[in-house]
């Protein structure tokens, strides 16, 4: 063997069978978020061809965007949760609970005015934070699985909302809230509801993809033991993330109240599942460690566009559920196949610890 210095070894040309760094473009095209964006564009084009007048209008697109807005706010937080390998089933109930306590508070304060609306918003967010904190502490400290904890709080928050209201929706909200946030538009065009959602999406994307908090979110979902050994406060991080999910559900609660002028107690039973479906369709892995906010936004648009397109085409809207279900399964299948092929690649090399079972190619590669 000739003596090879480290520098030459590192800088030398890669052997043909060695994996080369992928270019930024290759990485981008390989991302599930980008592929699903392609699917979304195809859907839009198909509906546009089929129903160009009704589907392809500013008004209709605005409708779709408004329908996605509230889900997107919860979806941002759900993306963080699922990247850690967790789940939050309670968000729909927490939305209802937050809306109910906000509505009751505003009602008792006289029911009108900017001040009352602001207090209502604050109450909704605090209520959400409390439920999220409870979820987080039970998951991180008591080590109860997230599925069970949030299934429990799903029932508790919804039951709590029904106890407070006697099961009857609180109707009405301050007109400043309904007129501005619920139906108001910036320059008469852009709904404020969607602007708020956009702000949350952008903040969420920056937090996840640009900050240390986001980095730790991936690390915890990827290998929590490795994160712990590297000094990451894993428990604290999980509590923060579930609290964030509660906060977003609370914010969604006050916006929902502004939009419907009702607490919609019976109308949110599928909210958590719809959000989870969007997050997963957008390429976030239920096994943790993988996911993007952009993917979630695209993933939430797919069911919304399908529903809208089917209604316009006069297809029974029930078909939307069938198609979304198929999308969901396909998305998880694709994720599964990727993970399996990645694991195969890694494990056929990992078992090299026993030197003699090493494939000839790998031995040659490392010996040169």
């Amino acid at each position: 063997m000739t003596t090879v210095t480290g520098q030459q070894q590192a800088a030398g040309p890669a052997p043909a069978d060695e994996e080369r760094p992928k270019t930024a473009l290759q990485r981008l095209l390989g991302a599930q978020a980008v592929q699903i964006l392609g699917v979304l564009l195809i859907l839009v084009i198909l509906f546009s061809i089929a129903e160009s007048d009704a589907f392809l209008s500013v008004n209709n697109f605005r409708n779709i965007v408004v329908n996605v807005s509230i889900l997107a706010i919860i979806g941002v937080a759900m993306t963080f949760v699922i990247i850690t390998g967790g789940i939050d089933l309670s968000v729909g109930s927490v939305l209802v609970f937050s809306g109910v306590v906000a509505a009751k508070t505003m009602e008792s304060l006289g029911g009108e005015g900017v001040g009352v609306a602001l207090i209502g918003a604050l109450v909704a967010c605090v209520a959400g934070v409390c439920w999220g904190l409870l979820n987080g502490v039970l998951i991180a400290k008591a080590k109860v699985p997230p599925l069970i904890v949030t299934l429990g709080t799903l029932g508790m928050a919804l039951g709590g909302a029904q106890i407070i209201t006697g099961g009857i929706d609180v109707r009405g909200a301050p007109t400043v809230l309904t007129d501005n946030i619920g139906f108001g538009r910036l320059f008469g065009q852009i709904p404020y509801l969607s602007l708020i959602a956009l702000v949350v999406v952008v903040l969420g994307a920056v937090l996840l993809h640009r900050t240390r908090f986001g980095r730790y979110t991936y690390a915890v979902g990827s290998n929590d033991e490795a994160a712990r050994r590297a000094g990451v406060k894993v428990d604290r991080h999980l509590i923060l993330i579930y609290t964030l999910a509660g906060f977003c559900a609370g914010l969604a609660g006050i916006l929902n109240l502004a939009f419907f002028a009702s607490t919609t107690i019976a109308g949110q039973s599928n909210t958590a599942l719809n959000v989870i479906a969007g997050v997963v369709i957008g390429g976030t892995s239920l096994f943790g460690g993988i996911g993007t906010i952009a993917g979630t936004v695209v993933g939430l648009f797919i069911p919304a566009v399908l529903q809208n397109g089917f209604v316009i085409m006069g297809v029974q809207p029930f078909w939307q559920q069938v198609v979304v279900g198929a999308f969901l399964i396909t998305a998880v299948y694709v994720d599964q196949v990727r993970r399996a092929s990645a694991a195969r690649g890694a494990s056929s090399r990992r078992s090299l610890s026993s030197r003699f079972s090493r494939p000839a190619g790998a031995r040659r590669k490392e010996a040169q």
Binding site: Q9, E19, R20, L207, R210, T211, A226, A230, E366, Q368
Partner: protein
């Protein structure tokens, strides 16, 4: 010389298995100690206990002669202790740079840093240097380490520990998945780290490597230290004998 790190009478049971049965251990600054023993002797358990990722039932620890508790990885770090675990402990979805700096991210200066923004360029630059020092064969600094070979991942773990260690470094079978050249690089790195005055603890099943690189060799058997040898004055036969219990050394 005062040992950089010393353990006295550590015990740890897993159910009925006595993984550590009153083990003693010590390593001096600027010294390479090889820790050898059969599979299941308790080497990895001892390393975990000394690096804060496993609690012991009893026993005491001394760092530079002062009693210390090392109950968390953060506590170990504060004492300048770094570890390459046998299972590597990398986050497979993160890239080499992100793994290298996990838990010690370099933040941007000023307000941006306080808001949680990281200095990617700085971290990438230093990672590159650390890998070059090791002669590592990691080429793609932006790919998840889970997609890399076992050897490449091992090099990342070794480079990370070597870059951060300031008092003691544990290397638990760091060359098991490595080829000839990379193993050489790790052995060279061990000597360089030792020459920085750092205490190196090297676990390996390769007796030639152990004899080549170590100053002292401590033998574990059934959760106890059964022998300590000067690497210059021992032989492969003696070491294997001590590991299997065929030879016993009176004063371990």
């Amino acid at each position: 010389m005062t040992p950089a790190l010393e353990a006295r009478g550590l015990r740890r049971e897993f159910g009925h298995v006595r993984a550590l049965d009153g083990v003693d251990f010590d390593v001096d600054p600027g010294e390479v100690v090889a820790l050898i023993g059969d599979n299941g002797a308790g080497k990895s358990t001892l390393v975990k206990a000394l690096s804060g990722s496993l609690a012991v039932d009893s026993g005491e620890l001394l760092s530079d002669g002062r009693p210390v508790t090392i109950d968390t990885p953060t506590a170990a770090r504060a004492l300048g202790i770094e570890t390459v675990y046998q299972d590597l402990a990398l986050a497979p979805h993160l890239d080499p740079v992100q793994n290298m700096y996990l838990g010690r991210e370099v933040m941007k200066p000023g307000l941006l840093g306080r808001l949680g923004f990281m200095d990617h360029a700085e971290m990438r630059k230093h990672t590159r240097t650390a890998f070059t020092d090791l002669g590592a064969t990691v080429r793609d600094f932006a790919a998840p380490v889970g997609s890399m070979s076992g050897g490449q991942r091992q090099q990342i773990a070794v480079a990370r520990a070597a870059a951060w260690a300031s008092r003691v470094i544990f290397l638990d079978e760091p060359t098991a998945a490595l080829g000839v050249v990379q193993t050489r690089n790790v052995l060279d790195l061990i000597r360089r780290v030792r020459d920085r005055g750092i205490a190196v603890v090297f676990i390996s099943h390769s007796m030639p490597h152990v004899i080549e690189v170590a100053d002292r060799i401590q033998v574990l058997r059934l959760g106890r230290r059964v022998a300590t040898y000067d690497a210059k004055k021992t032989s492969m036969e003696e070491l294997v004998g001590a590991m299997t219990g065929a030879i016993s050394q009176g004063a371990a």
